[in-house]
């Protein structure tokens, strides 16, 4: 057990990779075997994460379960990983969603071996970002997450997948360039990439210092924006969001689940882990701009979502809308750092990340369920399907309501916290964001209306097109999501208290 305790994070991080390598050696036509193996293998990190969650002491500040190995000594980069209250909740989200996404992919029958391997690699990439305590490691995992996703979209996506995957890749890579430069600048200046050390050194820089031939605040501002743009693309913030609807729409169902559920969180996590601690002053200075972009994402996201006739695209834009709240919370926390408002806004933002992970994954999955049966996502081709698929309808309404932010379900709690935290410091922005909240209702209801309600489209009622009810496996995918959505809506304290402790200590 001692080994387990000292290497817990590494185990969680690399078990998926290990499993992926094992899959490589499985016979390639045994799809069933790949599925079950991948599913079983992804459950192990989840189990370990539960153990981690249990062993995690929320009352201790700083990082726990740290592991540090020399990695790239020549430039002072170490393989340093650890978790605090913010990252542990993201780790939990990742390891929780991955088995579900894999279970959701059981219907994939094409090139299953590669598919599940990529999925497991993806999990390692995402977990690595959340655990990394070293900038270079952070960046490495950040990029690792990209590659499997690219192939998932490119190989298993729908019609327009080439365009979407290329857009996704290039867009994100474009952002990463600035990020890498900024990271290297930090590395060159301080000779280390270790986050914990950098936090202290970077902020204790005398403002009169001249770095790289420029005043320190200029350097910082440039680096700040390099970071912000990289993360803003990933979140995505308006106006960097146009890759998202394409990528989400074209990705396979499980890919969208993970993309919306976890990958978007990487950007927001970057804000929380890197931008705010490194650039508190810049964050305060530019919080208005950040909030503006966030509110733009909220409002425009909601509007654009409302304008869609493609169900999946509608859900995809809803991610823009919801992630806007995360950034709004972060902007508020940046502006009000140190106050209670900041704590609430930041806790709300992290919780919103978690919640959006659950509900967006659920929504994408449900879209996938119906797409698999009808092979269309056009809202105008549905209509009145509720009597055909009552269970599916119930689940869809439930999940939609979570996405809409109905009190009693998870989305409300976090949105409330963000609004509460942002209101005192960013009043006008918050008020405008309410417009987005209103239209959240509009597009969600539009989705339900077009799919479930109204006169039944007889095309789906008979013959070979007859729409079949959601099956047990698919229900099993949704069940954990729904249970967690409900639990978080009713009793969020178990999660929020962990996040809150860290947030109070950090910001």
């Amino acid at each position: 057990m001692d080994f387990l305790n000292t290497h817990l994070l590494s185990l969680i991080l690399f078990l998926p990779t290990f499993a992926a390598v094992v899959i490589l050696f499985l016979p390639s036509e045994e799809s069933k075997l790949h599925r079950w193996f991948a599913f079983g293998a992804s459950l192990i990190p989840f189990g370990l994460t539960l153990y981690l969650w249990n062993a995690f002491d929320p009352n201790r500040t700083g990082f726990q379960f740290q592991e540090q190995y020399a990695w790239y000594e020549a430039i002072g980069s170490n393989f340093h990983i650890g978790v605090d209250g913010i990252s542990i909740s993201m780790v939990l989200l990742t390891t929780f969603l991955t088995p579900l996404a894999i279970l959701a992919s059981f219907s994939v029958s094409d090139k299953t071996k590669a598919y599940f391997m990529l999925f497991l690699f993806l999990e390692t990439g995402m977990l690595g970002v959340f655990m990394a305590l070293d900038l270079l490691i952070f960046f490495v995992f950040w990029e690792i997450g990209l590659v499997p996703m690219y192939f998932l979209i490119n190989q298993w996506g729908s019609a327009n997948r080439n365009y979407a995957s290329l857009k996704f890749m290039i867009y994100t890579m474009g952002g990463s360039l600035g990020l890498l430069l900024a990271i290297q600048m930090l590395g060159v200046l301080f000779g280390t990439y270790d986050l914990v050390t950098l936090y202290q050194n970077w902020n204790s820089l005398d403002s009169g210092t001249v770095l790289l031939g420029m005043p320190v605040h200029t350097v910082k501002t440039i680096a700040f924006w390099a970071f912000v743009i990289a993360f803003a693309i990933k979140v995505p913030l308006w106006p960097f969001h146009t890759w998202l609807p394409d990528a989400h729409t074209e990705a396979p169902t499980a890919g969208s689940m993970i993309l919306a559920g976890v990958l978007l969180k990487l950007g927001a996590y970057g804000f929380i882990r890197l931008v705010l601690p490194f650039y508190p002053n810049e964050a305060r200075m530019f919080s208005g701009a950040l909030a503006f972009l966030a509110v733009a994402a909220i409002v425009f996201g909601a509007f654009a979502s409302y304008a869609q006739t493609d169900f999946k695209r509608l859900v995809a834009y809803s991610s823009v809308n919801h992630m806007g709240f995360v950034v709004l919370g972060i902007a508020a926390a940046g502006l009000a750092a140190g106050t209670k408002d900041a704590h609430i806004a930041m806790s709300g933002a992290v919780l919103q990340m978690f919640n959006h992970g659950l509900s967006a994954a659920g929504m994408f999955f449900l879209v996938g369920v119906i797409y698999e049966r009808t092979h269309t996502r056009d809202l105008n081709q549905f209509g009145g399907l509720f009597p055909l698929v009552p269970v599916y309808g119930g689940i869809l309404i439930f999940t939609s309501m979570a996405s809409l932010g109905l009190p009693g379900l998870n989305g409300f709690v976090s949105e409330f916290m963000v609004v509460r935290g942002a209101y005192p410091v960013l009043t006008v922005y918050t008020a405008v964001a309410m417009l987005g909240l209103l239209f959240t209702g509009a597009y969600i209801l539009k989705g339900i209306k077009s799919v479930l309600h109204g006169p039944m489209n007889e095309h789906w009622a008979h013959g070979e097109h007859k729409l079949t009810e959601i099956n047990t496996r698919e229900i099993l995918v949704m069940l954990p999501l729904m249970v967690l959505i409900l639990i978080l809506g009713i009793w969020p304290a178990w999660l929020v208290s962990v996040i809150n402790q860290t947030v109070v200590a950090l910001f």
Binding site: A307, H343, P387, G408, F416, M434
Partner: protein, 710 residues
């Protein structure tokens, strides 16, 4: 069990019932309604126990039942949630529990439990009737279990709202009811009109809700708490009142109050967000009774009553409230006059009556508003259920004749139902008189009279006059409705064959009729001539008034409001009977004014001003122009540019320099060497082996020589 714990448990049975029905019993209709009604009964029982215990507590206003727990960590403090039953809460809980139980019971009959399944019935549409032995009879609702599940959830929301001690949980219940109203109004979701009505209801109320959420956030950030008992302390209220908000010159209290009030405007269908309520009549009638009479719209008023201490801090807000209320009261009443659909009349009547309450609050008549809220809940629930009963009876007739063109909700198709449906008639009559404020016996008289008295007593003469006129209209359209529906002779064949409804529907009518009469008697003013001394003390005023820290003074008795209310009530009723007693068809109705009939064209206005532009902006500006045009357009430029650069590099550098000079040149050098070294390759492994050993020995010997000997 302590009362506090009991209060925690009150909302739970309906929630459990919802879960049970959805997860387990949805295939079994009988079991589903048993579960739902049992749950409603348990909540009712709990509510009654709490109510009785509340009556037994001295100075209940200062020592309410309250308890709370930590819910959400916020920084270093916790956001708490809890339950609170103070006098206002107890009074509201009382009527909520009763009406919910009655509506649950009524729903069994309304959805034709026990009838055969319909021939062509289809989930999502109202039942079309079943053929039994050649006769068409009513058929059972295909989504019977689902209905009970939804109203159970609804009941949960309402109970949560009533017992909550903070704005947060109030908002939770509030939104859950919003969801349920969406689901229930759009219950027959396959009907496009019902579907649209559901969305309209949800979206319109949501407009109010986001403002309310903003208000809550504002309040929370200023005071650090959302609990009523903590906010309504002198200290905090004064702080709130003295902090300027920077908007419209309002104080923080005023702005918060206004924001919260906008929530109520949405929820209680006040002008200008009233448009959803009439459309909401698309839902099944029990839903109309539940949402639009007894609970949800009342919840809006309840919230304002709750927040009254805060609202009353700022005069401007109060004025806005009073204005909105009074305007809505008369505005809706005028529309009601021109409606032919039996439920729509009641819908506008509800809006109008809610306007009364809001107006009462706006002028500071706290107790009167609460009183009218409760009496209205009883008699309006009664009226809605009665109208449902009428429709049900008419459907019976429609099935009898087989002429489905006849709208069973159109009052001009009715007439003379008094004899066919006696229980319905008498209870409807009681309800109608209560609504009109028929003097002395009905509850509506006492509550409406108190509002008028307050308006007069507090010198709000404009409000007084507006409300009096509205009351007159109320009495008029009520009598119009009763006359057209029940009196005279049947105007259609269907009306002749209408039939009394089963006991599950009539029992609730009788019970509610009882309260519609008697509940007024608990609030007879002390100074009322003759009766006042008889009851000695205005119990309701005394009880509910103590919710506030400073018990509001009852207005002094004055004959003017009393006489006014007598005149408008009796006058309106009389006029209504007089005008409509001989009307035989729509054409003879003088009040079919298209301006009124079309509700002042508000729906159309909103369509043109808000909804269409919003969609246009969303689709064309934001999605097509901005996202796809500008942003993606910029991105798409990158592709060709990179391509150009790439091919330039290839053609002018890679091919000539790298490939031809460096690449091919080095290959040739390598080739020359290879050609000349070829003969060494004998292809015999052992010779290679020996050769390598020779090399080793030679090199080793040389090294040995150099290192040791030399």
């Amino acid at each position: 069990m302590t009362t506090e714990n009991l209060i925690w448990l009150i909302p739970l049975p309906p929630l459990i019932s919802f879960a049970l029905i959805v997860l387990f019993t949805n295939k079994n209709k009988a079991l589903s309604h048993t579960v739902a009604i049992s749950a409603a009964f348990l909540s009712w029982l709990g509510a009654m126990i709490v109510f009785v215990r509340a009556l037994g507590v001295e100075h209940f206003g200062e020592h309410p039942f309250a308890s709370s727990i930590n819910w959400l960590p916020t920084g270093d403090t916790w956001l708490k949630v809890g339950v609170l039953i103070d006098p206002l809460g107890a009074a509201v809980l009382f009527f909520v529990a009763w009406t919910i139980l009655m509506i649950f019971l009524y729903s069994v009959g309304y959805h034709n439990f026990g009838q055969p399944a319909g021939d062509h019935d289809h989930a999502g549409l109202p039942p079309h009737g079943a053929t039994v032995h050649g006769h068409t009879v009513l058929s059972v609702e295909p989504m019977y279990s689902r209905f009970f599940a939804f109203i159970s959830l609804f009941a949960f929301g309402m109970f949560t709202l009533v017992v909550s001690d903070s704005l947060l949980t109030l908002f939770v219940g509030w939104e859950i009811m919003g969801l349920c109203s969406y689901l229930l109004i759009g219950f027959w979701y396959a009907k496009p009109s019902a579907r649209a009505a559901g969305i309209k209801a949800f979206m319109t109320t949501r407009i109010g809700d986001v403002f309310m959420l903003l208000g809550i956030a504002f309040l929370y950030s200023v005071t650090g708490t959302l609990s009523f008992r903590e906010i309504f302390t002198e200290e905090i209220l004064h702080t709130l009142a003295s902090v300027p908000s920077g908007v419209f010159g309002l104080s923080a209290a005023g702005l918060i109050g206004l924001l919260l009030f906008i929530g109520t405007v949405g929820k209680s269908a006040q002008f200008p967000l009233h448009v959803w309520l009439p459309d909401a009549m698309e839902g099944p009638t029990p839903v109309s009774a539940m949402i639009h009479a007894a609970t949800m719209v009342s919840a809006g008023v309840y919230a304002v009553i709750r927040m009254f201490p805060l609202l009353s801090m700022d005069e401007k807000t109060m004025t806005v409230v009073a204005f909105i209320g009074a305007f809505t009261a008369i505005f809706a009443a005028t529309i009601a006059v021109a409606q032919n659909d039996i439920k729509r009349v009641l819908a506008y009547s509800t809006i109008s009556q809610l306007g009364f309450m809001i107006a009462a609050l706006g002028i500071g008549a706290y107790v009167a508003a609460a009183f009218h809220l409760i009496t209205h809940a009883f008699f309006k629930a009664l009226l809605f259920l009665g109208s449902g009963s009428v429709i049900h009876g008419m459907e019976h007739g429609v099935f009898h004749t087989g002429n489905h063109k006849v709208d069973p909700q159109d009052m001009f198709n009715m007439g003379g139902l008094k004899d066919k449906m006696p229980i319905t008639f008498w209870t409807f009559l009681i309800g109608g008189f209560a609504l009109s404020g028929f003097p002395l016996v009905t509850a509506g008289f006492w509550s409406k009279d108190e509002i008028l008295a307050d308006a007069w007593g507090h010198h709000h003469y404009i409000v007084f006059a507006t409300l009096a006129i509205a009351a007159f209209f109320t009495a008029f359209y009520t009598m119009r409705q009763i006359t057209l529906t029940f009196l005279g002779s049947p105007r259609t064949e269907e009306a002749k064959h209408a039939h009394e409804t089963p006991w599950t529907m009539t029992t609730p009518l009788v019970v509610l009729a009882f309260f519609a009469v008697t509940y007024g008697w608990v609030g007879i003013p002390e100074h009322f001539p003759v009766l006042g001394p008889l009851v000695n003390n205005n119990w309701f005023h005394d009880f509910v008034g103590h919710t506030l820290e400073h018990v509001p003074e009852a207005p002094e008795f004055s004959w003017i409001p009393l006489l006014t209310s007598l005149v408008v009530a009796l006058g309106g009723l009389g006029l209504g009977w007089f005008v409509y007693k001989d009307v035989k068809s729509v054409e003879q109705d003088k009040f079919q004014i298209s301006f009124l009939k079309n509700k002042y064209y508000f729906d159309e206005l909103y369509e043109v001003v808000f909804i269409n532009p919003a969609y246009w902006v969303a689709e064309n500006v934001i999605y097509k122009f901005m996202d796809q045009g500008v942003i993606d357009g910029v991105l798409h430029i990158f592709g060709p540019v990179t391509d150009k650069i790439g091919s330039a590099i290839r053609n002018y550098f890679d091919v000539p320099v790298v490939n031809q000079f460096i690449g091919d040149g080095s290959a040739e050098v390598a080739w020359w060497f290879g050609k000349n070294l070829r003969p060494i390759q004998t292809g015999r492994i052992q010779q290679y082996f020996i050769l390598s050993l020779v090399v080793i020995f030679v090199v080793g010997g040389l090294l040995y020589y150099i290192l040791t000997l030399a």
